[in-house]
Symmetry: C2
Subunit: 239 residues, 2 copies
DNA sequence: ACACGAGTCAAACAAGTGTTTTATACAAAC
DNA sequence: GTTTGTATAAAACACTTGTTTGACTCGTGT
């Protein structure tokens, strides 16, 4: 029936997720059981990233996971419950990248912090298993669901605040200064440009995300941005 | 039935678009006629931008345009035909912006060409009537349809080539040089960041696209990029 | 032995979907 | 006046959608 993404009372998952006594889960001889659940997650992640929530049918996911049509409702309550769980793993993965970038820059001068931040994030962005997750986020940009709030708070905001801190160090401004925030936007947006997308493909930009190509791109963004930050940071505010 | 976007033989539009003799089209007294067609286009543009091709139903469009369900099939053959026509007008509008930017930079030194290019494109990007069209393109990035090819060739490629020419002038490189192309990506991606999007909204970035705010953002991008281009352009290629 | 519950399955369900059909109104061409 | 072709409308069509049902396994606990 209604398929629009919306908040609604969590549908009762039949019994599987809330076993009555459940010490040792019953296991069948054919090696399935919990496996079905994780197979559904794997297949759904790929399909949702490829074609979006609405364009993917539960029948398709179940066929891909060699499960019955009812499996999704049994294991996740409904289609949206499955989607939520898929997207939560994306949020977790990106939070890990954030923390890695922070550690790598610890104790370094601000320009070196920026270089390492950009490199690590670009590596994370283009790592083949994360790329799927980024496509999911890109879809959330067009059709936000309640899941996006958690992602922004846990993943994007820490990243932006850390970046603002670096830029503030570089320019001597305050992290909430308009001028600083514009620099943050300029830096962040450049990385996104290296994600594979159909327009770049049609233009003939075949960026191969090999380690050395990623390093080269990261170096470009870092030097480009450092010069940019210094240029706009040293100017008196005008107008 | 099948609703996936795909190339398929153009469905026969009943008669309206291919009148047999048709000198003066028959017109009814109630002032409708061709109006219905353009009302459908207007409503469809807004709905497609808001929620995407698949999420919008023909019944919804027709209700919004105060037309019968059969109106879309009558005037455009099918739902995809309507979508095609909506997106074609996006392509045309952007091509006009391209040409305006070219004219504005004619005879100017390269740095001034870049400043004017960025300002005009940012103005086009954020003009309220173009913003709808950009949301449509953003959706095409996730789910490309055959229409995207025409858009890239007529709208994106000329833009990128013009920008590459300016950067090449600034650095003394050739427009197809890897280093030049990376600068083009850096410049172009910064403008995109100013399009309204749900992540920026959740972060509290309330960019008001007033003329003066747009000018200020354009100035930031231009100075940031000019410094960046000069920095990476003056360096010898290494590694 | 028995009951219970986890997990799976085929089938059905209710509500949508894009599209087609049939009919009708009306202005212009003949 | 008749025909022709445009434009609209209500109803039906054929099909897909997410979800639910009820039966059926099969390990486990008692």
């Amino acid at each position: 029936m209604t398929t629009r993404l919306a908040v609604r009372p969590e549908p009762r998952v039949r019994t599987a997720r809330h076993p009555a006594r459940a010490a040792a889960p019953a296991s069948r001889g054919d090696g399935n059981d919990q496996e079905t659940r994780s197979r559904l997650l794997t297949v759904a992640e790929r399909l949702f990233a490829d074609r979006g929530f609405k364009d993917v049918t539960v029948r398709e996911i179940c066929r891909g996971a060699r499960a019955n049509v009812a499996a999704i409702n049994y294991h996740f309550g409904d289609k949206l419950g499955l989607y939520r769980e898929v997207l939560q793993s994306a949020t977790d993965a990106m939070r890990a990248t954030n923390e890695a970038a922070r550690r790598a820059g610890h104790g370094q001068p601000p320009d070196e912090k920026l270089r390492r931040y950009i490199l690590i994030h670009l590596q994370g962005l283009l790592a083949s298993n994360y790329e799927t997750l980024h496509r999911l986020i890109h879809r959330e940009m067009n059709d936000p669901t309640p899941v996006l709030d958690a992602f922004v708070e846990q993943s994007v905001r820490p990243r932006v605040e850390y970046l603002a801190g670096i830029v503030a160090e570089l320019t001597g401004g305050r992290p909430t200064d308009q001028r600083v925030l514009r620099c943050v936007a300029s830096i962040h947006s450049q990385s996104i440009a290296y994600l594979p997308n159909p327009i770049a493909a049609r233009l003939g930009f075949h960026f191969k995300p090999t380690p050395s190509q990623i390093e080269e791109a990261a170096r470009h963004i870092a030097e480009f941005s450092l010069a940019g930050v210094r240029a706009v940071g040293s100017k008196k505010s005008e107008g």
